[in-house]
Symmetry: D2
Subunit: 142 residues, 4 copies
Amino acid sequence: MPRSDYPFAFPFRVRYAETDAQGIVFYGNYLTYFDVAIYEYFRWLSYTITDHVSETGADFHVVRAVVDFHAPSRFDDDIEVFVRTVAIGRSSLTFELSIFAGDEPLPRVTGEVVWVNADQESHQSTPLPERLLALLMPQQPA
Amino acid sequence: MPRSDYPFAFPFRVRYAETDAQGIVFYGNYLTYFDVAIYEYFRWLSYTITDHVSETGADFHVVRAVVDFHAPSRFDDDIEVFVRTVAIGRSSLTFELSIFAGDEPLPRVTGEVVWVNADQESHQSTPLPERLLALLMPQQPA
Amino acid sequence: MPRSDYPFAFPFRVRYAETDAQGIVFYGNYLTYFDVAIYEYFRWLSYTITDHVSETGADFHVVRAVVDFHAPSRFDDDIEVFVRTVAIGRSSLTFELSIFAGDEPLPRVTGEVVWVNADQESHQSTPLPERLLALLMPQQPA
Amino acid sequence: MPRSDYPFAFPFRVRYAETDAQGIVFYGNYLTYFDVAIYEYFRWLSYTITDHVSETGADFHVVRAVVDFHAPSRFDDDIEVFVRTVAIGRSSLTFELSIFAGDEPLPRVTGEVVWVNADQESHQSTPLPERLLALLMPQQPA
């Protein structure tokens, strides 16, 4: 997906602690980048996850993460994690993510993260709040 | 997949540093567990990855990782990461992983990691060594 | 301090994720090794920290950590973290730690971690339990 | 030390992956914050560490790190790591660091990191370059 298909991106500069002995970002650390970028995407949507927890008694759980590695990133690289919602279920959200650097035409990393909204008492999945749906809907492809 | 479908497992005890503010293992850390378990699986196969690099001029790159989260793990939990090779390509290996705890019948986490063998000079994929194929073949399902 | 000055050690094998682009363990990760080793030292003492929290209403907080780096460790190195209690205050414990590998005469890393026992309601420091003192006292130098 | 004693600060927003089951930043992660802040301080000084390595054949090694924890930080907290050089030896640099949040008068964390400049062939300490000394000197207290 080109950058223009995403409504939001969040910048990262690769930390030394995130590299490994191959001199590149250790692959597990991309899930941390994805996680931060999704939280910042919710901030950009004006939907506060801590309020979600206190107001609805539910919290989001990650149920699936997929990462495809196309090209490595190195210490001090400036990269951007692009985020969009590609599927909205009764209680689940699927995010698609792409990491680009500079003006490179192709993403270095692509992936997907799936969240389920779970009631904190019953531990069962529970419908997404209307307000969140209203914020996400305008971003869906026609 | 039940435990009996896997030839190898490696134990982990969850570290405090690996938990997050939800009180459970932060999901990105499962890729570290997967990574360690695959290295130990190669040790168990008697195939030394550092020798592979020095003798063939190629190294393995992770090109894909998938993690499905079924149940959380907490600080001090004793878990085991089960590993098997489920696909062998010309230059690629696909590992399937499952994390079990105690005598629980169902895995807490399942996933897949794909490695490609890449020549360190040309950065192109290159065939897997015969010796590695000979070690992996007996483990493949009939 | 030689190994023989320590009552307890816990083994680690360096994970790839713990190395950095210099090819050595990223220095912040030694605090994770220290943390795990101190927990295992308490297990060896038969003092369960989760019971401490539930029975006394207090928990341990790290208030200081010092790490001195003498020699690096690399991926797959087998190292041992030696632990002993070097000072016992009214509410604080000071642990000394040394990391050795193989039969090397000198430690690769040395350090110190200070814990304070803090009441979880008042957030004030609170005396160490008698039972813990009784377990630690025999280990103190004469 | 008050904020005004530092020439430089770098902002961080606490990531979920950096918290632990106590709901606060795991203490080892402060060394990552310190590390990033020192690199950014060098960037601000216009001294490029990768050039240092390629031009002088030496690299900086961390030989000591001290962290004192005064108050915790939590997920999504905006914090700033303040950095200054407090001692310049023949081959060593000592950095003092303080972490402040918002307009809190006292730092949440303070610490020290010591670097030694080491020749990459001999592995011996080697004098700091004149150009680096010239950049650091004006910042030293009179």
